[in-house]
Amino acid sequence: MTIAISGRGLHQTFDGGRVTPLAGVDVDVEAGHMVAVVGASGSGKTTLLNVLGLLDRPERGEVLVGGQSTTQLDERRRALLRARHLGFVFQDSLVDHRRTAAENVALACVFAGMRRSARTASVHAALEAADVDHRAGSLAGTLSGGERQRVAVARAIVHRPEVLLCDEPTGNLDEANTSRVFDLLTSFVAGGGAVVLVTHDLELAERCDVVLRVSGGSVRVA
């Protein structure tokens, strides 16, 4: 069993301590597993995702990526770790509308420090895997919502990260596109990656390997 990413004693509060979404939470995400995170709105799902994704620092506790502690890392090294070992998919398919689908995906290669010669093939492979390679040269602003989200997933997986962190990636999609995006995530897991999937869709959560329920500051396996 290889732990791709884990949190130890994660503690986070907001509003001067009045809201405690994470109170000493321990989480392990194994490689080759898809972990769904569910819970009521405001329960702390996204907070957990942000802390695990090194976008937010916990008040207490530590996050380990590939067994390496991240507590002492400065922002530059955290950015490097995010660029090389993590992938992100946001709910509202946050892509640069002025860039083509291929250019959006290539951004992740640039930040990961991928060799220039390897970029074109990687971008093409990622777009093909996301079934959006036929729109590679189209500006992201002209894509449909489902296509944009698949481009976002392609951008998240193009540099072959160990962990994919997805914040309600299917929240704004219809059933068909939801299924296609989920299939993409499944393929990523099949390739040995780990996925942390924050979702309100319980049906989708049930298709994951592990379901974590966030409630009252704690995280339990559902």
Binding site: N50, E75, A79, R82, F88, L94, F111, M114
Partner: protein, 382 residues
């Protein structure tokens, strides 16, 4: 798979910036137009100021000059000495009010029976009133013929006291006065002067020829004077304007120059402020996008470099076009007015490059603000 070489990173930044400029044409054009307008105004203003300075300077000389001076020895003159014929020819030039001259030599001067000391001796003659000398001495402040002692020379040689008998190169003379002001030949203040000796001035020895002119006639008299003194080699006659109007002109033009540069600096500062505000609006408008870049691993240096480089590139392009346009307008104006075009290249280039640097620095502040914000905060922005 990794290739994080420095040149590769620089190329990535350049490509990203070029792509952004290409895909946001409207914004780039607006920025470039601002830079173009600022540089155009700057180039036109500086060139126009240089032209005006030249015109004003020349006119000022004409109006202010009461005398013209020619330093001797004079090369290219057919005359060996300033004889009556030449003096008459000079006096016959329209606008001339008088002619005075002085020859200069180094001598030994001393109080009678005292030790000798080196001194400068001027032998003055002609219409001395145009020299504007002021003296003090036995005859009061009026100019008397005889020996005059420069204020400093009176103290230089220990025995050469005021209003005393002195020996100059073996000649016993009585010092009649002390020169306290000499606007035309400043050297007199540190010298001994013999006045009205009547000996002719050698054109091949050191000295000064001072020609009085009517106000506003300096530019008419100067070329004619040159023709009289050296008919075949007028260019060898360097006519000088007296130091007082020269200094006054310098002061006036320096004041005008200060105003021009204050205006130029204002244009640069306003241009930089416009770029700063523009970039700030851009950063605010693209806050989530920049947050996404940083969330997926863009280093802060990448974000700063691309924002600053974009402003720099657009500023350089707009600035270059603006500078050319500004110079073109200045040239067209000079052509239409029939005046000479003076392009102060150093200042034009300095102004343009200062503008580019100011533009780039103007973009730096919003860029730094953008990366100071946590990626998560930027992502949550609406």
């Amino acid at each position: 798979m990794r290739g994080s070489g420095c040149s590769s990173r620089v190329r990535d930044v350049l490509e990203h910036t070029a792509l952004t400029i290409r895909r946001t044409g409207g914004r780039a054009i607006a920025f470039a137009l601002a830079a173009c307008a600022a540089s155009g105004l700057l180039a036109f203003g500086v060139t126009e100021a240089a032209g005006r300075e030249s015109e004003v300077g020349a006119r000022f000389d004409d109006l202010a000059a009461e005398t013209l001076q020619v330093s001797l020895p004079l090369r290219g003159s057919p005359y060996d000495e300033l004889g009556q014929e030449l003096i008459g020819a000079i006096r016959g030039i329209d606008g001339v009010t008088g002619v005075a001259w002085g020859g200069r030599e180094d001598v030994w001067a001393a109080r009678e029976h005292g030790p000798a000391a080196p001194a400068r001796l001027w032998t003055l003659d002609g219409d001395l009133a145009i020299l504007g000398l002021e003296t003090t001495g036995r005859g009061g402040s009026g100019l008397s013929r005889g020996l005059l002692v420069g204020g400093a020379a009176a103290h230089l040689a220990d025995g050469l006291a005021r209003f005393d008998r002195v020996v100059v190169d073996g000649r016993r003379l009585v010092a009649d006065g002390v020169v306290v002001r000499s606007p035309a030949i400043v050297d007199l203040l540190d010298a001994v002067a013999l006045v009205g000796e009547g000996s002719p001035l050698s054109m091949a020895a050191p000295g000064e020829l001072v020609v009085g002119v009517r106000p506003g006639w300096a530019h008419v008299v100067a070329p004619r004077l040159a023709r009289v003194l050296a008919p075949s080699r007028e260019s060898s006659v360097l006519v000088r304007y007296p130091p007082e109007p020269d200094a006054l002109r310098g002061n006036v033009l320096a004041s005008v120059g200060s105003l021009v540069w204050a205006a130029a600096a204002s244009i640069v500062v306003l241009g930089a402020a416009a770029v700063m505000v523009g970039t700030l609006f851009r950063v605010l408008a693209e806050r989530r996008l920049l947050g996404m870049y940083r969330a997926i691993g863009a280093p802060a240096s990448f974000v700063i470099a691309t924002l600053v480089l974009e402003a720099g590139i657009v500023g350089v392009l707009g600035g270059a076009v603006g500078t050319v346009l500004g110079l073109g307008v200045a040239a067209a104006r000079a052509l239409a007015a029939g005046t000479a075009l003076h392009i102060p290249w150093v200042w034009v280039l300095l102004g343009a490059s200062t503008g580019v640097v100011a533009n780039t620095l103007g973009a730096l502040v919003p860029a730094l603000l953008a990366v100071r914000e946590a990626p998560l905060t930027a992502l949550r922005a609406r």
